[in-house]
């Protein structure tokens, strides 16, 4: 099955799958998007957060007198005031608690200490300067490796009975089998690999506008959320507000990447500010606040060991992880899996023995950890296995493409149950790898590299070729295995076809740029034949959409896309019954063609979907038990994850004198099943590849020994620009998911998961060394060339 060219509507759009320009774009190119900071309500006030300058300190006193006396200031809220409302602490998505405004201690630099509500933003920020906080600094835990030392300061003394900084130990796989396999393996390669702390840094920071209507008791909050329904339930739990009186509206979102999954103290403060003042309160963080306090990603310190035969047949992989979760365990992931989906680390290869152990610790850094298009830590897993495979290739002097081809799962092995229990639904991995090598001209690249190496000079760039092969697992649930804070990971969808044949589709998921208004219309169009321009997608408003868990983990197409397809199928089947009544025949005697039910063998005798929509709402007598109208409501509970995969090849040039890395080419072959809108899929891949360039070469959240954040602005936290990114070269294979109604697998995070390893492998191939950690900045590369690799995530060596 491949993506078939769909017929075009009168507006020139594909009726179904195919390239279609986005419905969203008309407003965005005119500057008419409606983001949270664009929401303005009559009498609205502005909030600002006072943040801790220390990574770890006891709060001795907070004096707000001078701030509260300012003429434009309407309220100054501290943790003490929140305590009286039982709101000083809130639950995190991982069953921990997080301070909304600090009462006892501050536990990371940038932590929320007080909230000012004033008549304008400038007045609010001025007042922050007048709040007098006396701190008693405490020694911080900055390096996760020291968090469990006997003399490490106790960070979470708020938790009763806690005596150390360990959050959990968790393991998966078969340790005993690994011991056996590793003991008799011909080759074992071990390596320490750090996936440093990075940040999703969407262009729009986080914010909210809260309005508590004192008369009706209804709270409306416009907020940057990827999961409006989950947030509504959490607000009900956190604030004790009745859930039917809470409306969460997620308007246009300026990028999410997992940064906008959790609930941040600022959101809660804007709600409290509105309750206290009676006015609407807007809070929008600035960039430093975004980088220093909202959900980071990764911070995984991994020790991997790979066992193999001398010929390069992989026999086993085991890994110990030290996970830095920051000051509060605020990771967003299914409850059963405290380390997310990291235990998919066995990757795309066929071997029996695997084991991982993850130890998570508190540190004096911002909370978070599952963000930045990570598919619940599959980024870390894919990076680990793809680096370990390259380490093995390095030791065995086998070409990394050959080594991968030798070990990839074969098509006939699917569905394949991995050593740690995942059931990969479908795939043809060797085909994708071959396709990437074909596009790259792999043999020719290796020849060019050999020639360069034979004729080195001080000025000739060092050429490196890096590969990665990844298997993603996206589309969480099933709900019986996956929940967040007890909320099962299933998603609702409602399709209403109006009498004139125009339709509205209501979704629980929320776009942050992925193009849901277009893609989901195309899914319904594909099934019903209704032109996509006649289908309006409604999302991001809990009062007007069905419940569901939202958009992250690439789950929109695998879960809500399936819900939309099933809803459309139900509408189509109902239209068949209506057609049978209208044409006075049995529905069994009808067949479907081009958006129309007609009598088998007599195409003249038929009704279009639009005619049937009017009939369904009309006066025609319908069969016994068939209600009128043409609507469907679905809750989709996925039977399994979907498993997109891909083969990536990166070619870099490294300046031997400066260590500057130039990504010369990047080839990405992705298999996400049938592509609903190939243009949008390619855009998703492009964006993820740029993430890879950023993480591999530029981005890191570093801290000094006092826990000072060294990446608190875009001057220090470097994002890739147009100059660092090459012109991406994309390819595809299509292996439909056997259990998804339209075979689609989700693609939003694939490239972010798959690309970092390819870039790092390429740089290390250029340097002909086995290991160095991200980000491979010029300084880091240069040091590695001198044989003195550094830890880029720590300012200290």
């Amino acid at each position: 099955m491949t993506t078939v060219e769909a017929p075009l509507s009168t507006a020139g759009n594909p009726i179904g799958f195919g390239r279609m320009i986005r419905k969203e774009d008309a407003r965005f190119v005119r500057g008419q998007g409606n983001y949270v900071d664009d929401i303005n309500l009559p009498g609205m006030l502005h909030g600002a957060v006072l943040r801790s300058p220390y990574a770890h300190a006891r709060i001795v006193s907070i004096d707000t007198t001078a701030a509260a006396a300012q003429p434009k200031v309407r309220a100054v809220i501290t943790g003490k005031i929140l305590e009286t409302l039982n709101l000083a602490w809130m639950p995190t998505l991982s069953g921990d608690v997080q301070s909304v405004l600090a009462t006892d201690k501050v536990r990371f630099q940038g932590q929320e200490v007080a909230f000012v509500v004033a008549e304008d933003l400038y007045a609010a920020r001025d007042a922050l300067e007048l709040i007098d906080v006396e701190y008693e600094p405490l020694p911080p835990v900055v390096d996760a490796r020291k968090a469990l030392a006997a003399d490490a300061p106790l960070i979470r003394d708020d938790l009763e009975g806690r005596t150390d900084n360990k959050i959990y130990d968790w393991e998966a796989g078969d340790a005993e089998l690994c011991d056996e396999v590793f003991a008799r393996a011909e080759v074992v390669v071990a390596e320490d690999i750090v996936y440093p702390r990075v940040h999703p840094a969407p262009m729009e920071t986080c914010g909210s506008v809260a309005h508590m209507d004192k008369v009706t008791g209804k709270l409306t909050i416009w907020t940057t959320t990827q999961a409006p329904h989950a947030h509504r339930t959490l607000y009900a739990i956190v604030a004790g507000l009745p859930e039917h009186k809470i409306q969460v509206i997620s308007p246009d979102i300026g990028g999410g990447f997992g940064n906008k999954v959790g609930i941040y103290p600022g959101y809660v403060c804007s709600i409290v500010g509105s309750i206290v003042t009676g006015a609407a309160v807007k809070w929008v963080e600035d960039r430093s606040e975004n980088l220093m306090s909202t959900s980071f990603a990764r911070d995984y310190h991994m020790h991997g060991e790979i066992a193999a035969t001398r010929e390069g047949k992989i026999l086993g992989l085991r890994v110990n992880v030290l996970a830095d979760h920051g000051a509060f365990n605020g990771v967003a992931q299914p409850t059963k899996f405290p380390a997310g989906f990291f235990h998919i680390f066995t990757g795309s290869y066929d071997y029996p023995a695997a084991h991982c152990k993850v130890t998570a610790v508190y540190s004096n850094k911002a909370p978070g950890g599952v963000a930045y298009a990570c598919s619940f830590r599959i980024t870390e897993a894919a990076y680990l296995v793809e680096r370990m495979v390259d380490c093995l290739a390095f030791e065995l002097h086998i070409d990394p493409a050959e080594l991968r081809m030798k070990n990839l799962l074969r098509p006939e092995q699917f569905p394949y149950t991995t050593p740690t229990g995942w059931e990969y639904d479908s795939g043809d991995y060797p085909r994708a790898l071959r396709e990437s090598m074909r596009i790259a001209g792999y043999e020719e690249l290796r020849r060019e590299q050999a020639e360069r190496r034979a004729n080195p000079s001080d000025t000739t760039p060092l050429m490196g070729i890096g590969l990665s092969f990844f298997t993603e697992g996206v589309g969480a649930g099933p709900r019986k295995h996956m929940d967040i804070l007890g909320l099962g990971m299933a998603d609702g969808c409602e399709l209403r076809v109006h009498p004139t044949g125009k339709a509205q589709l209501r979704l629980s998921v929320q776009t942050q740029g992925q193009g849901h208004e277009t893609t989901f219309a195309q899914i319904v169009s594909h099934v019903t034949g209704i032109p996509p321009e006649d289908i309006e997608v409604i999302h991001g408003d809990t009062d007007n959409t069905p419940f569901g868990l939202g958009t992250y983990g690439s789950r929109s197409t695998p879960v809500s896309g399936a819900a939309a397809a099933v809803a459309a199928q139900r509408v189509k089947e109902k239209a068949r019954i209506v057609a049978g009544a209208a044409l006075e025949c049995s529905p069994d005697d009808l067949e479907w063609e081009h958006g129309r039910w007609h009598v088998k063998g007599d195409p003249e005798q038929g009704k279009t979907m639009q005619e049937l929509a009017m009939t369904a709402h009309g006066a025609l007598e319908l069969p016994e038990g068939v209600e009128g109208h043409l609507d469907a409501s679905v809750v989709y509970n996925p039977p399994n994850l979907t498993y997109p995969f891909g083969a990536y090849i990166c070619v870099v040039d490294v300046d031997p004198q400066t260590g500057v890395v130039t990504v010369r080419r990047f080839i990405a072959v992705d298999d996400c099943g049938p592509r609903i809108n190939p243009m949008i899929v390619e855009g998703q891949v492009h964006g993820g590849l740029a993430d890879g360039v950023g993480m591999a070469l530029m981005e890191v959240m570093a801290f000094d020994e006092d826990g000072n954040h060294l990446g608190g602005s875009f001057m220090d936290y470097l994002l890739p620009t147009s100059m660092e990114c090459p012109s991406w070269e994309l390819g595809e294979t299509v292996t439909p998911s056997p259990h998804h109604p339209i075979g689609a697998k989700g693609v939003g995070e694939s490239a972010t998961v798959g690309s970092p390893a390819a870039i790092v492998n390429a740089v290390l191939d250029a340097l002909q060394i086995r290991q160095a950690d991200m980000p491979l900045t010029p300084a880091s590369v240069w040091r590695a060339m001198q044989g003195r690799p550094i830890r880029p995530d720590l300012a200290v060596e």
């Binding site: 965005f28 500057g31 243009m679 855009g683 964006g687 602005s713 620009t721 147009s722």
Partner: protein, 158 residues
Amino acid sequence: MQITVTVNGEETTGDVEPRLLLVHYLRVNLGLRGTHWGCDTSNCGACTVWLDGVPVKSCTTLAVQADGHQVRTVEDLDAGGALDPVQEGFIQEHGLQCGFCTPGMLMTARALLDANPDPDAATIREAISGNLCRCTGYENIVRAVRWAAEHAAAEVTA
């Protein structure tokens, strides 16, 4: 301070604090919400507008610096009723996803095309290198600007 700023061809006046940022003057005082605030440090370019025909970062320009000058924002690009070719190019080539960086990108791209109607990809990449985008990986933005260059040229030929 009393200031007079011509914004998108219309004279605006305001009594502003000297520290007021131009981005806030446009967004809050004038209600022109197409110009976005992304980073505070001139790095991201979401706030790019024109000051006397030259792209500037309005998050690090004071409103008083625009006193007596001409400012152009994204809202003016389709002032004639039809989309500017660069707006159309972004649509046709999928040069945007979340749309947050888009207004700044468009203003930078329009300035480039006014100065150089037929830029190659390398020139476009350099021109937009002061505007960050987290969604597109830039490739389709380059194509979008090329689209605008090619279609503007076609219109002239026609």
